[in-house]
């Protein structure tokens, strides 16, 4: 592939848009959660202010090299998914660096950040981090099972592992979306996204009122700033992944924003309605309904 400065520029601009949209979306969702609890909630600017505050903390301590690399790995996981994710279909410049077979790479990057974070938080040495990591990894492993089955089902249906091809196969009206042509895979995927987004039923790993916030217990200042930046990017690109897989992708930024918002809203909606699962409950839950739906989706297209 030739080096293309224009393409790089558009990719970086896309990253900036995605970051700010992610921060705004997290503010909207926290405000919605507050209104459900009959509170006024945070000011709109709070995620940006928190980021600036975290980056502006003057003193930092470290526990070693891996402690530094943990947030870096996590961030490269989030940005890696972004780089290989087609954002706007029909525009060459907003396809980022997607290529044939990028779906496999995206699946890999989802776990890559988790593993880097596990190594980094482990070096922090705090017992709460270690418990948080074991909980987080075991939960994410079972989340991946229905998600992988759903993605495999789509790959069999469209006979491709390229996201662009999958989205292009769904163009020409909403009746062509995988949501209608492959409802079982969509159902399995949309249940898996509840766990990926980390809202209420499945937020035991990082909830502040469980054992203090799990893996990032020791992370502070810039480390935490990097983790939060990544979280904002990751929420949007995960929603974009599901938009591309099941809901026909986006042909312009307006459609992109509406669709990612609704997909993210689905996880928040479930989050404010349902209470938190314990870790063994969430593990067994993912191995029941979403797993069965995923297997049906595979069998139908075999």
């Amino acid at each position: 592939m030739d080096f293309d400065l224009k393409r790089l520029g558009f990719t970086l601009l896309g990253l900036l848009i995605v970051l700010n949209w992610g921060l705004l979306m997290s503010a909207i969702m926290r405000k919605m959660g507050a209104r459900v609890a009959r509170r006024y909630g945070i000011p709109w600017r709070q995620p940006w202010v928190d980021l600036v505050k975290n980056y502006a903390i003057r003193s930092q301590i470290t526990h070693g090299v891996m402690f530094y690399l943990g947030p870096v790995f996590r961030f490269s996981g989030g940005v890696g998914i972004f780089l290989f994710m087609p954002m706007i279909i029909g525009s060459k410049l907003w396809l980022n660096y997607s290529f044939q077979g990028d779906l496999v790479l995206i699946m890999y990057f989802q776990f890559f950040g988790m593993l880097g974070m596990a190594l980094g938080a482990g070096e922090g040495g705090h017992p709460h981090s270690a418990i948080g990591i074991s909980r987080g990894l075991s939960q994410f492993t079972v989340i991946e099972v229905p998600l992988t089955l759903a993605i495999l089902s789509l790959a069999i249906q469209y006979q491709t592992l390229s996201l662009v091809d999958i989205v292009e196969a769904q163009q020409g009206g909403f009746q062509n979306w995988s949501m209608w042509t492959n409802p079982f895979a969509t159902a399995a995927g949309m249940l898996a996204i509840l766990g990926i987004m980390g809202h209420s039923p499945f937020n035991l790993v990082k909830a502040p009122n469980e054992i203090p916030i799990g893996p990032p217990t020791e992370y502070h200042a810039t480390f935490l700033g990097v983790l939060r930046t990544n979280a904002a990017v990751l929420h949007v690109v995960e929603a974009a992944l599901f938009m591309n897989l099941f809901f026909g992708g986006a042909t312009n930024w307006f459609e992109f924003i509406i669709k990612t918002f609704l997909i993210y809203f689905w996880s928040v909606f479930v989050g404010v309605v349902f209470p938190r699962f314990r870790i063994e409950q969430s593990v067994s839950w993912f191995l029941k309904v979403p797993l069965v739906l995923g297997i049906i989706a595979i069998i139908l297209f075999m």
């Binding site: 009959r38 000011p43 928190d50 505050k53 903390i57 502040p208 203090p212 020791e218 502070h220």
Partner: protein
């Protein structure tokens, strides 16, 4: 409780500094206590020298106050209502954090027994610069109704620098919110530099702390 935990870590021979021979014959020194704590003194971190930048950062710090979830005395019952619909401290950028590493504001919520003072000092020192202390209730000012108690301290500012006092016994959550707003004014005016004061007068604070804590079994400074 295991035999190992019964003995004070600092006096336990298991944790003593010693020479160890590695599997390939290499001799190196291990100091297990160092794995738990650091003895590095706190440093003074000067504010940014460009006023515009420092003012902007101070604005961000004042609008994003992360409070350490640490309750002492009767005042700790006044903190949970802050996150309920009636008081809703989130409106003011106040959020609760469970770990001292990520917190900026430490609320000493009432009387501080000597046993708790030890933990409060360790938590305060684990917080990162800049950090602020809100002292809630009369007990932190002059001992309040516990002024002649044998096991509580009377004046908090002898042991850690205090940014804002909230008088009363007990102050209601509204008073705590008013205290937060006062703290924000101080930070925006560039007066929230008490963490640096602590580093500058470190020896004085440490001497005061050691005067009252008899069983000092922790390092002088643990980050």
């Amino acid at each position: 409780m295991s035999e190992e935990n019964k003995i004070n870590k600092f006096e336990n021979p298991l944790y003593a500094k010693r020479e160890v021979t590695g599997p390939d014959g290499e001799v190196f020194t291990v100091d297990p206590i160092k794995d738990y704590f650091s003895d590095a003194r706190p440093k003074v971190h000067e504010p940014n020298s460009i006023p515009v930048i420092e003012n902007f950062l101070n604005w961000a710090r004042s609008e994003s106050l992360w409070v350490l979830g640490f309750g002492t005395g009767c005042g700790s019952i006044e903190i949970p209502p802050l996150i309920t619909p009636r008081f809703d401290a989130f409106r003011f950028g106040v959020q609760m954090r469970p770990t001292p590493r990520q917190s900026n504001v430490f609320i000493i919520s009432g009387y501080l027994s000597i046993k708790t003072l030890k933990r409060a000092i360790r938590s305060y020192e684990q917080m990162q610069n800049p950090k602020y202390v809100l002292a809630l209730g009369s007990c932190t000012i002059n001992g309040g109704m516990y002024f002649d108690s044998y096991n509580t301290i009377n004046r908090l500012d002898q042991y850690m620098p205090v940014d804002v006092y909230i008088a009363g016994c007990m102050p209601r959550p509204e008073a705590l919110l008013a205290g937060f707003n006062k703290l924000k004014e101080f930070i925006k005016a560039g007066k929230g530099e008490k963490a640096n004061d602590y580093a500058r007068n470190f020896d004085w604070y440490k001497a005061n702390q050691k005067k009252i804590i008899k069983d000092w079994n922790m390092p002088d400074y643990n980050w």
